[in-house]
Every structure is written in C-alpha cells, then in structure tokens.
C-alpha cells in the first residue's frame, strides 16, 4: 500500500490542494482551469530546473550554478539571434542545450577528475558564468525589438490548448519519469547516492555518474535559458539572479534528500508547483512579493527538518546513546 501511494508526495500534494482551497475560499478566480494552466506555465522553468537539480542532488552533489548557466545561455542565444535573425528556432534550442551541457560538463569534470567538493565548484562557476555574461554583452541589454519575432513567439505558441513552454515542462517530466525508473543511468544515479561504496562494487563509476548528472542539469539549464529569455523577451546580466536557491528549495521541499539517494520525479515536480502556487497566490491575497524570499527560505527549513524526522536512520543506536548521555 505504501508502495503504491508514496507518503511524502501525498502529503505535499495534499498541502498544495489545501493551499488552493484556502485561496479559492477568498478568490474563486484563482482555481479556474485557465488560471491554473497559467500558474503551471509560469512554474514550467522551475519544474525543468528542479528535475535537473534532482539528478545532481541524488548523486550527493549540488549545482548552484544553474541560474548563472541559464542566464549565460540565454544571453548567448539572444545575441546569436540578433546577429543571425534567420537561424531557425530548433537550431537555437539545440545551441542552448549544447552550451548548457558544456557548462554542466565543466562542473562535472572538476567534481569527477579533481574531486573538488561540488558546492565549491558550483559556487565558483556561478560567479564565473555571471562574469562571462558581462564580458560577452559588455553589460548591455538585448531587448525585445532586437530579437526576431519567431524567437520570442515560440514559447508562447499554443499547441493542444497549452503553450510550448508548458509542453517543454511536461515532456521533461515524462522523459525523467522514464529515465529514472527504466534506464541504467537512472538506476545508477540512485545507487551512487544511496551507497557509493556499494555502487563501485556493482561496477558503477561513481565519478562518471556524477559527471553525467551535472551534464543533464546543465543541458536543462541551457534549454531553460532560451525559454526564459524568449518568454520575457529580454536578456541582461542579472536575469534569474538567485533562482538557484528557489530550484534547490523546490527539490528539498519535494523530499529529495540532500544526503543523496532519496527522491522522486513526482516529489521534485510537486515541490516546484508548491513554490509556483505560493508565488502566484501572493499578489492575489494581497501580500507583497517581497515575502517570496522569506517564504521559500522557511519552506526549505521546514521541509528539511520534516524529511530528516521521517527518514531518520535507526541503525546507529550506540552513537545516539552516547550523544544523549553527554
């Protein structure tokens, strides 16, 4: 029974429903299908990035450079679009994913080959990527009138009732669902995070798996870079500043253990949707958007405390007693 209905995801899903009920009791307009579709569309970038981050966190790493990666690819493809307005959008998207993946690979190589702690690597690359945006753009903005109409219209294009941006998130969710459950790579990610030593004895290369996790996260950040810049039709140095914290928050809220090995696609998606609902509901219930940062901070703390209680390891009783008697 517990296998069929994962507890953590159910609680989180319930929390989102309660939140929606509370909002709808005052503003029924918020829960209309059109508005919920808008909320989902607005949350799509967060969902895509949270899935990439999930893979990285599952392998006991963390990627704090996703927002800077997003901003750098976004700026790069915007400048490519300005220089070559005729370049078809699929090519642009391919370039974005490739650029993102390269930046992810840089993180990955440093973690894999030099065994530098991921937090240090990605803190460093975070500032380096942001600095490079300034270097390539000279600090200037790329505005909507400079981009080609095809470039900016693509994520807004409606297919089967939903914009392309939403479809990008849905397709990513489906691909990740299959990847995590059905492929060798997906299972080895769990193995590496759950018990790296055992993973080595099963023939899994821990460092290499972590490297590919960073590449996946980087590629998704690259994709989101294009979607972000084209959706808001502007590119500048500071876009998505601090967004990496929101992405980590979505994962932690979604029950992905920062110690690695525990988490699910559903959890990451629900975590992102939870933050998305809160973000979109704040202006509706007349709370200043300045509350957003504090709310996601508190949500991280509550979620991580809650998850630690739920998943506390009972194996090391001796140590606990020693701690209790001091």
């Amino acid at each position: 029974m517990t296998r069929l209905i994962p507890v953590r995801e159910t609680i989180l899903g319930g929390a989102i429903l309660v939140l929606l009920l509370l909002i709808s009791s005052r503003f029924s307009g918020f829960v209309t299908p059109t508005n919920l579709a808008n909320v989902f569309n607005d949350t799509a970038p967060l969902i895509i990035l949270a899935l990439g981050q999930m893979v990285v966190i599952l392998t006991r790493c963390i990627d704090l450079s996703v927002a800077a990666n997003l901003a750098l690819t976004g700026m790069a493809v915007a400048m490519i679009n300005v220089a070559m307005p005729g370049l078809p959008i699929p090519v642009i998207i391919a370039i974005a994913i490739l650029l993102g993946a390269i930046m992810g690979a840089i993180n990955g190589v440093l973690v894999w080959k030099l065994a530098i702690p991921p937090i240090v690597v990605t803190l460093g690359t975070m500032t380096i990527f942001r600095g490079i945006i300034f270097l390539i753009s000279d600090g200037k903005w790329v505005n909507s009138h400079e981009m080609s109409p095809a470039f900016t219209d693509y994520p807004r294009m409606v297919l089967l009732g939903l914009p392309v941006l939403s479809w990008a998130a849905i397709i990513t969710i489906i691909l990740f669902g299959i990847m995590m459950a059905r492929t060798q790579f997906g299972r080895s990610i769990f193995a590496v995070g759950g018990n790296p030593h055992a993973a080595i004895y099963t023939g899994i290369d821990v460092g290499k798996t972590q490297f590919w996790a960073f590449v996946v996260s980087g590629a998704l950040a690259g994709l989101t870079g294009y979607l972000w810049v084209s959706r808001f039709a502007v590119a500048y140095v500071d876009i998505a500043g601090g967004f990496e914290l929101e992405v980590v928050a979505a994962c932690v809220i979604g029950g992905i253990s920062i110690a690695g090995g525990v988490g699910s696609v559903g959890g990451a998606v629900l975590g992102a949707i939870f933050l998305g609902v809160v973000k979109n509901a704040l202006p509706v219930v007349n709370i200043s958007p300045f509350w957003q940062l504090a709310i996601s901070g508190s949500a991280i703390l509550i979620a991580v405390a809650f998850n630690a209680r739920a998943g506390r390891n009972k194996g090391r009783i001796i140590l606990k007693e020693a701690e209790a008697t001091q």
């Binding site: 380096i128 942001r130 928050a249 957003q292 940062l293 703390l301 991580v304 001091q326």
Partner: protein, 333 residues
C-alpha cells in the same frame, strides 16, 4: 575512493621545522601576496600611496572578520552560507531601531545581538536537529534576507548618527582605520583560540573525525553550536562596520559576500572538507584578495569581471594542488 588503494609512503624522518615552514601553503601564499604587491606597484602609479593602500583595506577587513570564524567552522566540517544574509538582517534591524530613536551604543548592541541570534538559529538546526549545514544555511540565506526584504521592500534606511560612522569611516592614527584595528584584534583572538586552546584542538579533532572526537569526550554538538554563534557574532560586527561605512541599509546589502568569505578561507589553505587550516593562512589570503581587487580596481576593471577572477581563484586554489599531486603520482608510477 582512491585513498584506500594508494600505498602510503612512510618517510624515514620528518622534514625539519624550517623546511616545513618554507614548503607550507602559507609561505607560498605570502610569496604570491608579495608578487601581486610588486606587480601592482608597477602596473599603476596610484598603487603605492599610503592613503590608497589604506582605502584598499576596506576591500577585505569586513570579509576577513567573518572569514576567521568561518575558518573555524569549516575546519570543524560545517559551513555557513548565510553570513551575507545575516549582515542584511542585522543591518536592517539597526536601521529599524534607528527609526525608533536608538543611539550609537544601542545600534551596535542590536547589530551584534541579531548576528548572534541568527547564528544560534543556524546552530540549533544543525546541532539540535542534526541537519546538514549546507541546506540549513541555504535556507536561512533566503530567510534572513527575505525578512529584510519584508521590512524594507525597495526602500532604504538612512540618517545614521554621526558618531555611528566612526566604526566604518574612523581613523585611529594617520592612515590606520578603526576597521584595521578590529581586523588585527580579531585575527589575534582567533589565532590564539584555534592554535593555543583546548577549544581549538577540539575544532580540529571534530573536523578530522567527529565520532572519534565524541568518544574522546569532546562535546561535539556544543562546540559546533558555539562556532555558529561566533560566525553569527562576526557577521554582526561586519554588519556594524559595513552599515557605518555605507551610511545606509538596503535589503540587498552585502549580496554575494558569502562566496568571497568562503573563497578567502579556502585560499588561506583551510581544507573545505574540514580538519586542517590555519589563521595566519587566512590573514595572508585576506591581503591577497584585497590587493588583487584593489589592483584590478585601479586598472578600471569592473566589479563583475573581478568576480570571475575570484571564482577562478576559488576553484584554481583547490584544483592546482590536486593537479600537482596527480602529476607527481603519474611520474612515480
């Protein structure tokens, strides 16, 4: 993973004391600092001026104050990414108190108290609930700065009393600033604390083997909690200095400073995984970073380009010794 398979070479005798000092990370860093100083004085005619150099110290004094406490925290195996947000919250609290007519002594007390309380908050989550410090402080990084945003929005607090500006703008004697004095005092206190006291030995022991430390009778949780308090207190002191120097408070104050503090600590030779590092190393690292950013500033390099340099420094400082040892291992086999 490779540690277990590597053969350990036991030397016949230990290096002499002089050789150890000469080959140490700190000596290398000092050489780098001197080299940067010399290069800078050739690169810009404005570098070698007592007043300019005095101004340059503001580049690192506030960060270094936090870096000393952070060094102890990282040696013990934890980290605090919320320090810049603690500065924002402490500064906002001081600004708020100012609106209710607080004078300079009250402002300082409030700034330090908020810092300590934030540190206690982090410490409670890490030691009380046993949660990983990276996640906790990523959370409080949003929370503390978030509270500043709730209080201030896009507004700012201004109009600090003239006597309050002494901390960030005052001079003790000639070109020596109040912040420099604080920097020296704090460096000495932390040097003694880490290298000459039982507490300092406990910090190293915890960083090398927390379980072993626990069974040796060290109160691991208490030591870590104190370290979080100290980091909070130092952030409070830095908040007083920074607010006094800028003369205003915005919720975006000190954004990204946690990165520079961690870089300074790692550059100072502290192992990011815990267990080793020295205060003199951090002191020299503070000078290196201050000289680099000041020198680049004189050459009209914009701040964001300097941040590329700091990012490269952070990664390079850890990567180079590892590349070096990999190359050395490659030669032997």
């Amino acid at each position: 993973m490779t540690d277990a398979t590597q053969t350990r070479h036991v030397p016949d005798r230990l290096n002499s004391r002089a050789a150890r000092i000469f080959k140490s990370w700190e000596a290398l860093l000092l050489a780098v600092a001197i080299a940067i100083f010399v290069i800078n004085s050739f690169a810009s005619p404005y570098f070698l001026s007592a007043w300019n150099l005095s101004d340059a110290t503001f580049n690192f004094t506030e960060k270094a104050m936090i870096a000393f406490a952070m060094a102890l925290l990282i040696i013990s195996g934890e980290i605090d990414l919320s320090v810049a947000s603690i500065i924002a919250l402490a500064s906002t609290a001081m600004g708020l108190a100012l609106q209710y007519g607080a004078g300079t002594p009250e402002l300082v007390i409030i700034g330090l108290t908020v810092g300590v309380l934030c540190g206690a908050f982090n410490g409670f989550f890490v030691t009380g609930l046993g949660l990983p410090s990276i996640v906790v402080t990523i959370g409080t990084m949003s929370l503390f700065r978030g509270i500043s945003f709730i209080i201030l929005g896009d507004d700012a607090f201004r109009g600090y009393p003239a006597s309050f500006s002494w901390f960030g703008q005052g001079y003790i004697y000639w070109v020596f600033t109040v912040e420099m004095l604080l920097f020296v005092i704090i460096a000495i206190i932390y040097g003694v604390l880490l290298h000459k006291t039982n507490f300092g030995r406990a910090v190293y022991a915890i960083g090398n083997n927390p379980t072993g430390a626990l069974f040796s009778g060290i109160r691991v949780a208490r030591v870590k909690f104190i370290l979080f308090l100290l980091t909070g207190l130092m952030s409070g002191i830095a908040a007083v200095c920074l607010t006094s120097r800028l003369g205003s408070t915005r919720p975006s104050i000190a954004t990204g400073m946690e990165l520079e503090v961690v870089t300074m600590v790692v550059l100072g030779g502290v192992n990011i995984l815990g267990g080793s590092g020295t205060i003199p190393g951090v002191v020299i690292a503070a000078f290196v970073m201050g000289l680099v950013t000041f020198g680049l500033g004189l050459l009209n390099v914009p701040g964001i380009v300097m941040s590329i340099f700091i990012g490269l420094l952070l990664i390079g400082v850890i990567a180079l010794p590892r590349l070096w040892s990999m190359a050395a291992a490659g030669r032997k086999s």
